[in-house]
């Protein structure tokens, strides 16, 4: 409150500092009483208040609130709806672990027992593939595994004592069968990969499967040694 010791000038300074809060309805009730008392006796401060009030009125007339064009909100809401729909279709984002879990949960969560069964078959075929490969091409050799060398065909009447021996036709047939199995595994993997992220199935199942098929496909069968 203005103090008598402040004198008229001090009182006027006190009041003029409070004209803006008064106009804005932000003045404490007790201060408003003191201010109005001063204004009743001070024409100079009344003039200041009138000028401030004119300015405020002019600002409100000259700078009214504006209306946002409707196309702005229409566009924003259209984008939001689209993003919401995309979010509902996509698996949850996150690290690779979160994506794997989310994808696996989605994949196994539907379709009853069929999907888990398919996954088990795919896994079994993948695990069996190396054994199929080795049994076709004989024991593991330390060098040049890409070229499969076969023991010479036994002489007519021989017992074939040195392990299994197969004709080129039998090998070709077994290779085809292995390709079918591994193609099936790859197809199952691709289907699963739609839910589980591609990089998981690609690295864990599809690529190894493909490598196994390719190595079978590129394996050359050496010409059988001709018997003199």
């Amino acid at each position: 409150m203005p103090r008598p010791a402040d004198g008229p000038a001090g009182a006027c300074a006190w009041v003029r500092e409070r004209i803006d809060p008064l106009l804005d309805g932000e003045l404490a009730a007790s201060e408003e009483v003191a201010l109005q008392d001063h204004l009743a006796d001070c024409p100079a401060c009344r003039s200041e208040l009138a000028l401030a009030r004119s300015l405020q009125g002019a600002l409100r007339d000259g700078l009214p609130p504006l209306t946002c064009p409707p196309e702005v909100s229409q566009q924003v809401l259209a984008i939001a709806r689209r993003e919401e729909a995309e979010r509902a279709r996509r698996p949850a984002r996150g690290g690779l672990g979160a994506r794997i879990r989310s994808g696996l949960a989605d994949w196994f969560g539907g379709g009853g027992l069929l999907r888990p069964a398919l996954a088990a078959v795919a896994l079994a075929a993948l695990l069996a593939a190396p054994f199929v490969y080795r049994s076709l091409l004989g024991p593991a050799r330390p060098q040049a595994p890409a070229v499969a060398t076969l023991p010479a065909a036994p002489a007519p009447g021989a017992s074939g004592a040195q392990g299994a021996s197969y004709s080129p036709e039998e090998i070709a047939e077994a290779r085809d069968q292995a390709r079918v199995v591994l193609a099936y595994v790859a197809a199952v993997g691709r289907d699963a990969g739609r839910a589980v992220q591609d990089d998981v199935f690609a690295e864990g199942i599809v690529r190894p499967t493909r490598r196994a098929v390719e190595s079978l496909g590129t394996a050359r069968i050496a010409e059988p040694r001709r018997t003199p």
Binding site: E17, D20, P21, D24, E26, A50, L51, A52, S54, L55, Q56, A58, L59, R60, D61, G62, L63, P64, P65, L66, T67, C68, P69, V72, S73, Q75, V76, L77, I79, A80, R81, E83, E84
Partner: protein, 174 residues
């Protein structure tokens, strides 16, 4: 979440647009800024807590300042880059017949005077005079202490009064 977002858009779009228009002095730019701000609200809605209105106004102001900085940097640098850029406030396009005859020149003077104010006075006066926000709301929106808001309102109005003394006095007398 979409429903909540739609309600917030309906509630706040005009306020955001108004602030952007008066800060930038360009309605098309203000529409672009409004769209960007509302989309940012959508993308942060899940994590946003606290006063949405204050957040929106703060983001709007920051976007506008970024645009104004880009404008300045595109011009040839002469003089003090910290000089406030004079903004020609948009014609409101919403005159009422009663106001038009008396206030056309005054309105033009006002818009020019407010456009020439430095920050934060321009933002504060727009939020106070146009949006009729309370001091505490302005304090939150601008992340400014309450006493500083009061002081800046007083200073901003004082500057305007000085620039418009003859014009307002004449208008008050009419």
């Amino acid at each position: 979440m979409l429903d909540r977002f739609q309600s917030l858009v309906e509630e706040h779009q005009h306020r955001v647009y108004t602030l952007a228009s008066y800060l930038l002095g360009d309605r098309e730019e203000a529409a672009d800024v409004t769209q960007e701000v509302l989309l940012r609200l959508w993308r942060n809605l899940e994590t946003l807590d606290g006063n949405v209105s204050a957040w929106l106004l703060r983001v709007t102001r920051n976007y506008c300042f970024d645009l104004m900085r880009k404008r300045r940097s595109q011009k040839t640098a002469l003089g003090n880059p910290e000089e406030p850029e004079a903004v020609h406030l948009p014609d409101t396009g919403q005159p009422s017949p009663e106001r038009l005859a008396a206030s056309t020149d005054l309105g033009r003077h006002l818009r020019r005077a407010v456009g020439e104010l430095a920050e934060p006075y321009r933002s504060i006066l727009i939020l106070r005079e146009v949006q009729e926000m309370k001091y505490v709301e302005i304090s939150e929106a601008l992340d400014m202490p309450l006493n500083t808001v009061k002081v800046n309102i007083h200073r901003g109005r004082k500057m305007l009064r000085e620039r418009l003394k003859g014009v307002i006095g004449h208008a008050a007398a009419c």
